[in-house]
Symmetry: D3
Subunit: 131 residues, 6 copies
């Protein structure tokens, strides 16, 4: 169990329940996942996070699937097991193939290793890479 109890629809207050309902409506599902039920202890934080997530993850200059891949990459580097699971599920729902998943993992692993090498050697940034 989490650091705080997950709030069911019955336990959630009116403000949190309104966000749950908006999640259900926008996602066209009855299911509200644990992340939002844990955040429900602070309805203002719940709402701010949900509103921002919608704005950021909407289609734009980047494809929604690409945004999920980026999300998985950050979540992996930050070691967030919950987020790795939820966003890998989201990426699959948006069409990520097994081959794409494999390439995503390969790039993440490549970046992790060159990040470590550049840091361990404190490589100075090339002038041409600066704005």
């Amino acid at each position: 169990m989490a650091v705080v109890a997950l709030q069911s629809d019955v336990e959630a207050g009116a403000e949190a329940l309104a966000v749950f309902d908006d999640i259900r409506a926008k996602r066209q599902t009855d299911y509200v996942n644990n992340f939002w039920r844990a955040l429900a202890h602070d309805p203002a934080l719940l709402r701010a996070t949900w509103e921002r997530a919608q704005a950021v993850m909407a289609p734009g200059a980047l494809d929604p699937l690409v945004k999920e891949l980026i999300y998985i990459a950050v979540s992996t580097a930050n070691g967030c097991d919950y987020c790795v699971h939820s966003h890998t599920a989201a990426a699959k729902a948006k069409g990520m193939t097994s081959a794409q998943h494999g390439e995503l993992l390969s790039v993440i692993a490549m970046a992790a290793q060159t990040n470590a090498l550049a840091t361990a050697l404190s490589v100075p940034v090339d002038d041409r890479f600066r704005a």
Copy 2:
């Protein structure tokens, strides 16, 4: 300056120089960036890293630009200043627009904050997100 001196073409040994030449040939440029010049102290590590980078970053199920965006995301989360610079430059060279850059930053920031929230609350993974 770095933890080790960067190796110029004159200072690099034959094995390292062969990798420098391959970098120039494959990238069709005379420029070999600092990362490779720092790695040249260990020619076997230099070669293994360069060979793997080519295999991983080649076009495949994911677009090369998308791979660069993923690379930037990981490098940001790992706090690698060198890699953020070099891969942002690479992404721009592959056509990343200012709007795409802004959306990339927005997704990275969103992931960073929900990673923190999920970790601080130790949210249990939903059964439906598990394989």
Copy 3:
């Protein structure tokens, strides 16, 4: 189960047991939590960690509750699930309210996202922020 077995009072050696007894006395409880029982395999490390923790977490220029909030913040950023749990429990025991917990989470999430943005943009430090 952990990487090492937790040591019960019966399994712990005399040096480790002396620390367990000191923990019980100082905290006025019979309970010794798992962190100390795992550390008991190295009594010198156990004692050094316990002694330092007491010195650092004692009331001083900062309030003990504020110190717990800082501890949770670091533990979250470092992705330490055990520490997030133990120090959230400690903060509650020292009077952290639900509203304070919510604001703590909001600040942690805000910092996480601006950390990511400043890193992804490699923003140069303003002269006026330097000592």
Copy 4:
């Protein structure tokens, strides 16, 4: 120089300039720090970040100085040099004493080391720490 050029008031577009002006008005200063000038390339991200920062850092259940201490703690753990500088300056402006700074550093260092120990031993969370 940063990954992107910092935008002066002249270079910033109307939307970014409006945020700069709001920063100046709310903070009662003529100075707009580099973080916002780097974000100005994406006015929507600039505004969203600034608006959220104001809401999160306002006085509430936690004191504004305590919020700055938490911010420094997260920024340290995430290795964000810019944020460590800017929020240490902010904490000093809000009255952080040298003694408080020293205790903040001591708690951050204590957390960092016990985070590492708990992770290296994979200590199981005590039942009593769970919600």
Copy 5:
């Protein structure tokens, strides 16, 4: 359960199975651990990772046990629970004593705390430490 299902010998394709067989032969054991069974979804990534691991972890200028200690140190700092477990087991199999394990933990904890202090103070690198 993992983000992807672990592949048994029956489920693995021919390429992945060939790697499993090589792991068994080189390690002189029937057991193939979960990491490789999870990677089997992408046989090319599985093979590249296994081949590189063999090259890197082989005896050389550093002793194989020392390499395992370094691996544990990195895995701890990165918060990888799986890797902490698997490489602590590997270190024990290569002769790590309880006293060595205790000293490893002590150094990891010391580094974690001075890393935090140096970052929180943004200590400038001494000229004499630069190449």
Copy 6:
């Protein structure tokens, strides 16, 4: 310059100066590096850190050079540029060869990439790796 000004011998108070003198005596050098001069603002923290560093880094079940390699590994994963520099210098002073440095980097990079893969796949820990 750092977040705080480095303290020269003249600026340091009596308590900090006593630690500086102890550093000089134990290390048989006139040089006190920047890390200690930055910590001098909090003499109690300075002393505690110096005392603990001596105890941890002394010869024991692990060789002093091996301890430096572990220190570099943690510092790299934590992205501490100062610590990477100071401990690479310390390792060289203790005899680290160029070949050993190359192998250290190779192991760090290998661990970084498999850490990322294990996290991105959330690989469950094998029963046999548990205590």
